[in-house]
């Protein structure tokens, strides 16, 4: 039985309420203790305190440069991905031929590991933003195509009949019925894609970059500045989380009807 645990004392209730946070703090404390009393050297596994101090070893403006570089590539790749994926999905939904031709190609692109293709893209497009944006785009657009197409195809037949009974032009069936119907699906695709966008940007930076958090982590590691590398990793997780959250905020603000009903 999955019965919710109800503590009786005030302290117990507070502990229950903040359990996820307490668990996290506990984990960090355990990590600190292991490093301190296990005599683990900082260049193998830095302690949380060492990581915290490492934030200040790097100038704030340097952090911002790296942060911005990664964020810029991730957002540009993600944006490009939206610009390609949504029209492509509409095309594939509307045209059976387009669907038949493009779908296998999409599967091939998706099943090729982007990490393996990244160096080739750098060779092809050079070491600047365009290649990094393309790498990010390649990793993010498949979930978007799948979710958008699924949403549009799942539109209830009765809604389509409503459109047919009005003899409305087909582009309005797409814009006024299928796309709005697909909004919840599109947003679940966006949530998956935005976290992949950060991965894409980091992969691209690993291959060729002079700035960005991915580059910074690789650079720090190669000089055995492991605490700094961890600090960079924390920044990456934080932006990833914030981007994920902002997709949810955008959905809640602009499309409140598309959220699951809380009852």
């Amino acid at each position: 039985m999955n019965q919710t645990y109800q503590p009786k004392t005030w302290l117990g209730q507070q502990a229950n309420r903040f359990a996820p946070g307490l668990f996290f703090i506990g984990l960090v404390l355990l990590w600190e203790l292991i490093c301190r009393f296990g005599n683990v050297p900082n260049y193998i596994l830095p302690s949380p305190a060492a990581i915290f101090m490492a934030f200040f070893d790097v100038e704030f403006s340097r952090w911002l440069t790296h942060l911005w570089a990664t964020l810029r590539v991730a957002l540009m790749g993600f944006g490009l991905s939206i610009l390609i994926a949504i029209p492509l999905s509409i095309g594939m939904m509307r045209s059976e031929l387009m669907n038949r031709v493009l779908y296998p190609a999409l599967i091939v692109i998706q099943s090729t590991p982007v990490v393996a293709v990244a160096p080739l893209i750098i060779v092809l497009l050079g070491t600047d933003d365009p290649s990094r944006v393309l790498i990010t785009c390649l990793i993010t657009f498949f979930p978007l195509v799948v979710s958008t197409t699924t949403g549009m195809l799942e539109t209830p037949p009765e809604m389509i009949e409503l459109s047919q009974s009005l003899r409305a032009p087909r582009y309005r069936e797409t814009w006024q019925i299928r796309i709005p119907y697909a909004i919840p699906h599109i947003f679940s695709g966006l949530r998956v894609s935005i976290t992949l966008a950060i991965i894409g940007a980091v992969v691209a930076e690993f291959v060729a970059a002079e700035e960005g958090l991915g580059y910074f982590i690789q650079f720090s590691t190669s000089f055995f500045k492991i605490p700094q590398a961890f600090a960079g990793l924390i920044f990456l997780s934080v932006i990833s989380l914030l981007l994920f959250k902002s997709i949810q905020w955008i959905q809640a603000w602009f499309f409140p009807w598309s959220l699951p009903k809380k009852k």
Partner: protein
């Protein structure tokens, strides 16, 4: 077709079905979904179609709507064969079929927005009037999921009335509602129909609903759906909860029930 055999003068029939049949699979040995349906519906008449589920009632409605072209026979509206959906035919769907991203008012205006891309202030005025008639004014700016099932279906009816159709097709519109709501919305529909007289084709699997609402009832057999009987409902109007208690109401429902539960009775 044997035009001379139709007894009713074709002129007065708003909707006319002659030997209508349909199968979805064009192969010659494929089963028919409906067959040999003959029915004329007159001006401002309320005709219900009842039959067991799967008997092709909804197929029949789709053929009148022009969403489906019958493989056999002919459906005509105002003496013209139906080849595509028409502006003078409105449809009320099962389960309201409202768009969850639009407010109630915008759902009502949707047919105009969808067909022409825009609507005028006078259209908006008309939508408001229709909403008021259906007692929905205070819900006009709500989203559909904030309304009860019965209210949602009233919005569905109001939406079908926006383009002021002469003919209203209703496809089991109350089947998703609970029994109490269902009876109430039946009276609401009669009230709306009285204020906006329309020729109605009403598909239902509820016998009492059919008797309560309609002037005539087409009783259909199991698949392949064909006409078992066409029953004149001679109950006085306006109908109310009193109607349900009258002996004639019970008689009529019994007659239909007889058909539904003994499906081998010849037409």
């Amino acid at each position: 077709m044997e035009d001379k055999n139709t007894t009713d003068g074709n002129k007065s029939a708003y909707v006319s079905m002659k030997k209508v049949g349909h199968k979805f699979d064009p192969r010659p040995d494929a089963p028919m979904v409906v067959q040999d349906i003959d029915l004329d519906i007159h001006r401002h008449e309320f005709v219900a179609v009842v039959g067991p589920s799967g008997c092709g009632k909804s197929t029949l409605l789709r053929m009148v709507a022009g969403l489906l072209i019958p493989s056999h026979g002919e459906v005509s509206v105002f003496n013209r064969p139906v080849t595509e959906p028409r502006d003078d035919v409105g449809i009320v769907f099962q389960k309201a079929n409202l768009l969850p991203w639009l407010t109630v008012r915008k759902n009502v205006l949707f047919p105009l927005k969808h067909k022409y891309g825009r609507y005028s202030p006078s259209d908006e005025k008309r939508a408001n009037e229709l909403l008021e008639m259906a007692g929905l004014t205070q819900f006009a700016d709500k989203m559909p999921d904030e309304l009860s099932g019965g209210m949602q279906q009233r919005v569905g009816i109001v939406r079908a009335l926006l383009l002021n159709p002469d003919i209203l097709l209703m496809d089991e519109p109350f089947s998703a509602l609970d029994a109490l709501t269902r009876e109430q919305i039946g009276f609401d529909l009669l009230d709306i129909w009285k204020k906006n007289p329309k020729t109605v084709l009403f598909i239902t699997h509820s016998i009492s609903e059919a008797v309560l609402l309609s002037d005539r009832i087409l009783v259909m057999s199991k698949r392949p759906g064909s006409v078992l009987d066409l029953i004149e409902v001679d109950l006085p109007r306006p109908r109310s909860s009193q109607t349900i208690n009258s002996p004639r109401f019970a008689e009529l429902t019994d007659i239909i029930r007889g058909y539904i539960y003994e499906p081998n009775v010849p037409a």
